[in-house]
Amino acid sequence: MSTDSTKTRHSLGVPMKRKEDPRFLQGQGHYVDDISLPGMLSMAIVRSPYPHATITTIDIAAALTVPGVKAVITGKDLEAAGLGWLPTFHGFDKQMVLAIGKVLFQYQEVAAVFADTRAAAVDGAEAVRVEYEPLPVVPDPFTAKKDEVILRPDREAKTNHIFHWEVGDRDATMRALEQSATRVSRRIWFQRCHPAPLEPCGCVALFDAMGRLQFHVTSQAPHVYRTALSIVTGIPEDKIHVISPDLGGGFGNKVPVYPGYVCAVVGALKLGRPVKWIETRTENLTSTGFARDYHMDVELGATADGTLTGLRVSTVADHGAFDAAADPTKYPAGMFGIVTGSYAFPVAHAEVDAYFTNKAPGGIAYRCSFRVTEASYAIERAMDILADELGIDPVELRRRNFVKKEQFPYASALGFTYDSGDYHQTLQKALDTIGYTDLLKEQAEKRLRGELMGIGFSTFTEVVGAGPSRHFDILGIKMFDSAEIRIHPTGAGVVRTGTKSQGQGHETTWAQIVAEELGLDPQNIMVEEGDTDTAPYGLGTYASRSTPVAGAAIAVAARRVRDKARKIAAHLLEVGEADVEWTDYKFQVRGVPSRSVTMKEVAFAAYTNPGQNEPGLEATNYYDPPNMTFPSGAYVAVVDIDRETGEVRVRRFLAVDDCGTVINPLVVEGQIHGGLTEGFAIAFMQEIQYDAEGNNQNTNFTDYLLPTSLETPHWETAKTVTPSPHHPLGAKGVGESPNVGSPAAFVNAVVDALSPLGVRHIDMPITREKVWRAIRDAETRPAATVSAR
């Protein structure tokens, strides 16, 4: 069917067309909303227009008379059934399933309506009468800090403060900063945004004839859902079957378990019929996992010649009404410790304080490893502010402070051990490809003419692939991942993993890994994910952990298959196992190329003539990574700014990524294009804003702005390859690098363009008006340092 088959012998690194595409191209993708079952009911949710209010009455009488409506449930019903609250993933907080007594954020779930059709369910929801008595609103973490209004009296500690987390040596860092020749500090805000996958969240729940819960759901982590559902509902885990079908994107939004899911399960149980719940876009943007919302006070110290002496970051985090941040248990601020970036800091200290506010819960890893995007943005932005202060070219400042190639594995001041990297080489490649010297010349000329042109860099390092079990767990479950490989008699096979693709192309890349390790045809290696009845237990796909963890599990499992195959090969070749070597993708008698057997032949023998060996050819591996992987990159943005309107045009953008060994260049490039586009969207468009009254201002795609093909820049990509020393394939993961690394490059470019006017910083999203104000303020207040918000 495609010429790729001829290349199986060099499957790794082949730009193989995706195996999953034919079904998507023909409208045969299988998404949750595509499921239709006999007698299936639709569920609609009644939501609160108030961000903080006491519920005085809920009158469902009228709703029950609406034609087609079968039932309405409220928080009281669930509480009575012991299902009033839902534990959040890291286990430190719980979340109301349906409001009990009061609501804590606008669009919070208040009641669920079950009806024969979508339309009847919506009619029913409209007929539910809820009376509220408004309460004072806590619209931001700084107001929350005052503890004048306690949002969560249900908790033991009567405060809005959720946690304090810190890492590094505070005193040594303070001393280092005090002794520094130069210090810069700046409040940098990473605005609240939302992953907004094009397919909203949803589920179909039913209890089959065996009393087993068949739960089809948009989940990036189906096994964790099964365990969580069992814990919440008390249904034995063997009686729960979670199926995560094709996902229309996830980007972290489909990691948490949402109240709607619990309601659907309760409805299915109560009414004895299948229940479907599909979010509207409004519900998706207003109630499911948001990301970021970190207010970061960053301080850098350096010697006169620009050698970094210390870094201090103090962050105030807005977690919304419930602490539903999807971070590993021991890491309430995720991997924020990566804030030292690509630079050799002698000392550093980072702390995060999180608060409850009257906003939607979340704080999920939106196309990034936990809180890595916030950290990378902070350090890359701060490096430019320091360069500006020192009057050093930001490129030169970075070069001077990079962790050097020979320093790896490098122990960072905040406790990570970077596996590998060659930052100087990656940056050099970026400079050469973009033609930095020519751009500087052009910029100098333009500045003489008063034109605004900017060049922005981001030389980031991320930390992905959570993670080593001694550090990482979710609900106590260690963050390993798994693979199970079965080779059939004809040399075809199946690989199952605990991960779940949302578009990343696992059906292709997983097959390529197996094919590479076993010398088989990737076209005949079926990949299966997302079904908890068949797939081995895994933690799922997010935080760029698929390739670093599951990819490794696949390689190790494949090697186990090969070890078993070697025994059978020895039997077929009638020599001792020690005399059999695996060369050129086949087994041969050591030094006798003429005497060899292919894996295909061995596979057949495994079922027909295994000799003394145990029949069959399969293996399973649960991979517990020894360390995280540390992908890095050097990004360059070139922008032109319209003085009159503040419009920013991204003229060029180059991404040089180093994600170690590349499994499928086609897929990797696609991931980079997509990540850059979301980074661009975050830098210039995406924001979930709440007004002072706690109203969500960006509840649908007319105000939560996603770029179209017209706004999106043309992307240039290149790569350097520094394999991970501890990953079986040397791969590091790439899906998130472009989203983590690019926002700073865009903002740095805009600020660089405005720097002759004295502008030092503009918070994202960079709107035309913010840029226009920065320019105008600079012109009306000459020689002053200007900052636009």
Binding site: D123, E126, L705, P707, T708, E769
Partner: protein
């Protein structure tokens, strides 16, 4: 997002549509392109009890260019965008607008007359219609009448179309060959309403002075506004840099926008001036005169 239930009637002619309106009165709404109405219905902000679908009234799909340019109630924005004559600089204004209304797929269904009837404060067609001095043909109980656009646009989302009436067409005077127009719009992204927009149409005397000028702003008041001060400034004058600046300042002054997520009042007033200046420069370029 499912609309509230309603009764659907399909009209195959203007007369049929009009008859349905008479029958159902204020509960009935005309469904033309539906690109504003249907989303509003999905949010149940709009809940007409009867929808009179005129998309099958093919007699209203015309775009006729004879004495005037007449555009029927179901002529699509995309049809205007593709009309052969839009290449002619005299129609530059309509061409410019037809390429920035909503998004390219919405324009396949969206209609010019529908946009005028919707009369969104940030509308594009309403603004262009003012600058081009269009008039709307309204089918009323006392027969058809023609309403100058200035009287047609009454208030936000409110027009001169009365209960039981319907707008059936819009007419644009055919510009002479010393006339050109332009539309300048700033939007946050494709598909967004204007943060600010300016429509300009200018006719010159043989001697090169300005005979007639139409200047209008979008998102600068309760509905699209004509900038009379700018028009009066321009008329009788010779195109020049100072003249453009003066007209732009007048536009900026007369702009009375609402602050919203698209921008502050101050910024929108500023943009009004910038866009009028840009539109004027573009018009003069199209007319081949160097201001």
């Amino acid at each position: 997002m499912i609309p509230a239930a309603f009764e659907y009637v399909r009209a195959h002619s203007e007369d049929e549509a009009f008859a349905h309106l008479q029958q159902h009165g204020s509960d009935a709404r005309i469904l033309a392109g539906g690109q504003s109405l249907i989303p509003a219905m999905r949010f149940r902000l709009a809940r007409p009890s009867v929808l009179v679908d005129i998309n099958e009234a093919k007699e209203l799909s015309y775009i006729r260019l004879d004495g005037t340019l007449a555009i029927g109630a179901i002529a699509r924005d995309s049809a205007i965008e593709r009309a052969p004559w839009t290449g002619d600089r005299r129609w530059g204004l309509l061409r410019d607008v037809s390429r920035v209304v909503a998004d390219p797929v919405v324009r396949q269904m969206g209609t010019l007359v529908g946009s005028l009837c919707h009369n969104d404060p940030a509308g594009d067609w309403t603004t262009a219609a003012l600058a081009a001095r269009a008039e709307v043909v309204v089918r009323g109980t006392a027969g058809p009448r023609t309403v100058p656009i200035d009287n047609f646009l009454v208030d936000s989302f409110t027009t001169a179309v009365g209960e039981g009436e319907m707008a059936v067409a819009v007419r644009f005077p055919v510009p002479d060959d010393r006339t050109a127009g332009a539309y300048q719009k700033i939007e946050r992204k494709v598909g967004d309403f204007a943060t600010a927009a300016a429509a300009v149409q200018v006719s010159l005397h043989a001697n090169g002075t300005i005979r007639d000028a139409g200047v209008a702003l979008s998102a600068a008041g309760p509905c699209a506004v004509r900038v009379q001060e700018a028009e009066q400034l321009l008329e009788g004058q010779r195109p020049s840099g100072e003249l453009i600046r003066a007209a732009a300042d007048a536009a900026s002054r007369s702009s009375e926008p609402q602050a919203d997520l698209r921008g502050s009042v101050e910024y929108k007033k500023h943009l009004a001036g910038v866009l009028v200046a840009r539109a004027l420069r573009q018009v003069f370029t199209r007319l081949g005169v160097q201001p």
